[in-house]
């Protein structure tokens, strides 16, 4: 196999996986605390819009990212208000956020920029560029290293590395800190946590806030690193794929990472596979590959490839017992 192709695939996989990873980790924190998060798609979309709008209007990367994160946190808090503080249905709330985001981003986009919903492209200074653009050239004499390490691993921008770094960070937060212990407990048995004198609502809102930050980063990546502007429905179901990855990774940061990398790989492979025949199977339709993450998740949930056990108290609003 061509080493350039492998290098390409590796690089593409990582790039496709990055927004998935941010969102999957966001969903992880929320769901581990007992709050279902169907709204990942909507939060990422709105964050992308905020990043695009702020980036174009204010001309600053940090402000764009800050806006994206701010908007996303706000939506997470709305979810928290409806579900944590007021016992509303968590699934309905998530769906509401998705639909509101889909509509409001377009309404504001058209009203503010009059480009059919798109935001104007952000300038190259605002875009997040590759960290080490010379990395590939450093390996000029070793083709395999140049492809795999140079392009595959070192050609990315800061957000890609940040997403990967957040995996051990989340793992550490969840399993090595007091907050993480309490978070895991509150998703399994909130009554126990309450009886131990720790605020259930406090934990859940903190989880939702972190969730907002991560979704904000996901949206920022789409607009500032991947393309250059926000366009209608640009998330294209990635938020749901992230949810699938989270479940496929069995609500564990490392599992979610592998799932996101797998799904990212499938995403990258889908286009390239078109027209190529695989041994035994023949030509695989691109749609089959695109559908594969979803099919795999259903197969997992149906219990055919091991068990996926969600946090025990997920989806149930916490009401103090008397």
């Amino acid at each position: 196999m061509d080493e350039v192709l492998i290098g390409n695939m590796l690089a593409s996989s990582l790039r496709m996986a990055t927004p998935l990873l941010f969102c999957a980790l966001a969903g992880l924190l929320s769901e581990r605390s007992g709050v279902i998060d169907i709204g990942l798609e909507g939060k990422m979309l709105f964050a992308a819009f905020a990043a695009g709008a702020a980036g174009a209007a204010l001309g600053s990367t940090s402000l764009a990212v800050a806006c994206a994160i701010g908007v996303s946190i706000l939506l997470s808090w709305v979810h928290g208000l409806a579900c944590v503080s007021y016992r509303g249905d968590q699934v309905v709330s998530g769906i509401a956020i998705n639909i509101i985001a889909a509509g409001l981003t377009m309404v504001l986009g058209i009203a503010w920029f009059a480009q059919g919903g798109q935001t104007p492209p952000v300038s190259t200074e605002v875009r997040i560029q590759a960290l080490w653009p010379q990395a590939q050239d450093a390996f000029a004499n070793w083709p395999w290293l140049q492809a795999i390490v140079g392009e595959g691993l070192l050609s990315h921008n800061a957000l890609v590395y940040l997403a990967l770094a957040l995996v051990p960070t989340t793992w550490w937060l969840l399993f090595k800190t007091r907050f993480g212990l309490r978070l895991r407990a509150v998703g399994e048995n909130p009554h126990m946590v309450d009886a131990a004198g720790v605020s259930v609502h406090g934990l859940r809102y903190t989880a939702l806030t972190l969730n907002g930050v991560l979704c904000g980063l996901a949206g920022s990546y789409l607009v500032l690193a991947q393309s250059a502007a926000f366009s209608s429905n640009m998330t294209a179901g990635r938020g749901f794929m992230a949810l699938a990855a989270l479940i496929f990774g069995r609500w564990h940061p490392v599992g979610a990472m592998w799932a996101c990398l797998l799904f990212g790989f499938l995403d990258a492979a889908a286009i390239r596979m078109q027209g190529t025949a695989l041994p035994l199977i023949g030509e695989v339709p691109v749609q089959a590959i695109q559908a594969l993450p979803y099919v795999l998740t259903v197969v997992l949930l149906a219990g055919f490839i091991g068990k996926a056990v969600a946090p025990a108290a997920i989806g149930k609003p916490y009401v103090k017992e008397r």
């Binding site: 090595k176 800190t177 895991r184 407990a185 399994e188 126990m192 009886a195 131990a196």
Partner: protein, 525 residues
Amino acid sequence: MDKASLPGHTTATAPTATVGSVAVGMHGIEKRFGAVRANQGVNLNVATATIHGIVGENGAGKSTLMSVLYGMYQADAGRIAINGAAATIHNADDAIALGIGMVHQHFMLVDTLSVLDNIMLGAEPHWLLSRADKATRGQLRDLMQRTGLHLDLDSLVRDLAVGDRQRLEIIKALHRGANILILDEPTAVLTPQETAQLFEVLRGLRARGTTLIIITHKLKEVMGLCDAVTVMRAGEVVADMPIAQATLEILAEAMVGRKVHIGRDGSVGVQDGAVLLQASGIGVQDALGVARLRQLDITLRAGEIVGAAGVSGNGQSELLDVLAGLLSPDSGELQVMAQTFNSADWLDPKTARQLGIAHVPEDRHARALVMAFAAWESAVLGYGHLTSYTTGGWMHHSAMRTATRDMMEAFDVRPRNTELQSSHFSGGNQQKLVLARELGQAPTILLVGQPTRGVDVGAIEFIYAQLRAMRDAGCAVLVVSSELDEILALASRVIVMNNGRVTGELAIDDCNETNLGLLMTAENV
């Protein structure tokens, strides 16, 4: 135990306890829930470094009293003094600060976390778990050594046996600095060996100066373990003595009180009717592996009311569910209406109804009615297959409504509104509707759980009359109730259950406070 070294504690002004003083003094405690006076003028004095038992039936008020002590409820009147100093306890945190710990009947644990994590949670000494772990492990090692309570700190709770989970709860409470420990029905889920081990631990704690309060109904255990005992009945303290002055008979009689022969109408039904239902060797284990029914045999005859007496939670609910087909036992056999069922292929509710078994469930809200349905929809629950109600998959609304109206008339259900949502009827009227539905099918066997729970006084006599009428019509009636007066008012014969077994059977005329109380608390090995 130096409180200052424990996480989350300041050297609060909790006075030191000395042996000989009174650890817990509760005076004149009053607590009402609506019209029910759960605690009336209750006085309790628990001496330091003693094991004090609080005994009583359901509804006696013992759990309420301890909930007041632990800060889960606020008393309407009365004073509490801990170690001689007046105390106001608004919540569990206040109680913990005063050195009071509680081991609940239903454990508050996270199954997926380790023993260490469960103990640490909420009182972690450091935000970095590695440091918190180390510090806590050291403290727990000392604690476990001193108390003799040993647990593998790294095993997951879901892998622990019930007895170990209880140890975990005790260690948790002690780790938070408890020197007054309340245990609510601690031996309810333990095997005899585990019970013996627990008693060793408790004696050891007493020797170290811990004050222990045990809520229980197991008189033999009280006699074997406690230094003093308080008996409660109907919200009041009826007896309070050092254990040397107590005997099983004295305690049993105090617990049950002069209930016999109140509410009886003199009728006993038929003595030797045909056997309608025979169950033998019924065994049921719950999800945690605790045996709920052990080798239970029961026979129901036509023309009698069998009352199943006993403290709640000793298998009565499981017995009803097994006989009604809602629960499949792990072992045993059932013969009813010339059909035999064994544990591999048990009855189900539909078959039960076809065999003429009617069931008035204990849990009216979750089982007997669909609360969101209108009265007429609840009135056909379980009987939708009857041809009078349904043909070819279509329900006959008018027939159902008429039937409901007839039921309401016959059983005086108010208001007579077939469209009213089930949840909007009063408890008594809901129960009457359920009875009308079940009795209206002319069953041969009637299973009734808590017939008058939540029912207003006016409806109680009516319900009793209906049950007696069924008996006289040749039905076999099994009544399970946590109210002994109810059992004694209705039954032709009484079977007493404790710990998943029938500990004894008495004809109604042979029942008195003492033998009933003894049977209710007897331990068959």
